[in-house]
């Protein structure tokens, strides 16, 4: 039934947006992590969305095609007492931009909400359809 396909479309968008929110949470949490398991400062991570056909050509859901690392250089902070400081007293800090992350967070949560509403509308339509002939 074509209406129940809306659940697949909206559901794929919801899981993609929650992955984006997850990446944002990770970036904000690590905004001050001067080191990571591989010894380099943490790099901001961003998700890449891609439209995928769900069922037929005309219905496209969303999937996260890749998680990419921000290639911007790390921020250098002058702090000679820091254990990770180099010979000149500078520490390489993560290239996370808190403003960008907050904007991403709001955008992801609003898009998630919109898809929840899409699903609710589709559900109301399906329930209404079931009352035909009663």
């Amino acid at each position: 039934m074509s209406l129940s396909n809306i659940f697949n479309v909206a559901g794929s968008a919801m899981s993609a947006q929650s992955q984006r929110l997850n990446a944002t949470a990770s970036n904000i949490a690590n905004a001050d992590s001067a080191t990571s398991p591989n010894g380099t400062p943490y790099r901001a991570k961003q998700v890449v969305f891609e439209a995928i056909p769900v069922g037929s050509v005309k219905d496209s859901g969303v999937k996260v095609a890749a998680v990419v690392e921000d290639q911007a250089p790390p921020k250098l902070v002058y702090d000679p007492k820091h254990p990770m400081a180099d010979g000149n007293g500078y520490v390489a800090m993560p290239n996370v931009n808190p403003v960008e992350e907050m904007v991403n967070m709001i955008s992801a949560s609003r898009s998630y909400q919109t898809n929840v509403e899409t699903m609710n509308t589709a559900k109301a339509m399906l329930v209404k359809t079931l009352t035909i002939g009663q």
Partner: protein, 142 residues
Amino acid sequence: MVSKLDDYFRFNEMALNLRAQRQQVLASNIANADTPNYKARDVNFADALKNALDNKSNTIPPLQLDRTAASHVAGTAPETGPGSIGGTALQYRTPAQGSVDGNTVDLDVERNEFVDNGIRYEAGVTAVNGQIKAMLNAIQPG
């Protein structure tokens, strides 16, 4: 007798079918509001319903390249075009404000159309219910 009943319900059945399919296309647009290079699509509902009622569903040719001279190479849209609803090709929306990532989804427009289409679908269901009640009244004694 049965074919008369079929004809009686046919219009609203077609309309509901097309509304449901259009709802799906609009849901795809909303779902892909953040996907780079995604182009929002929609169908002209009046045309789609007219084509479906005239049963012209198989007569719509795929999109062709416009040719201004006979020697130009003919081109046909690939299978992975915008898709179709009831045989009527979907069209791409013209964005009011372009965006840097090539996405043409305007969430305000899409949500407006989505809710509007949903309400019209429910109105269609109410109309079908009315038709069924009228027929039941006609075939039941006293």
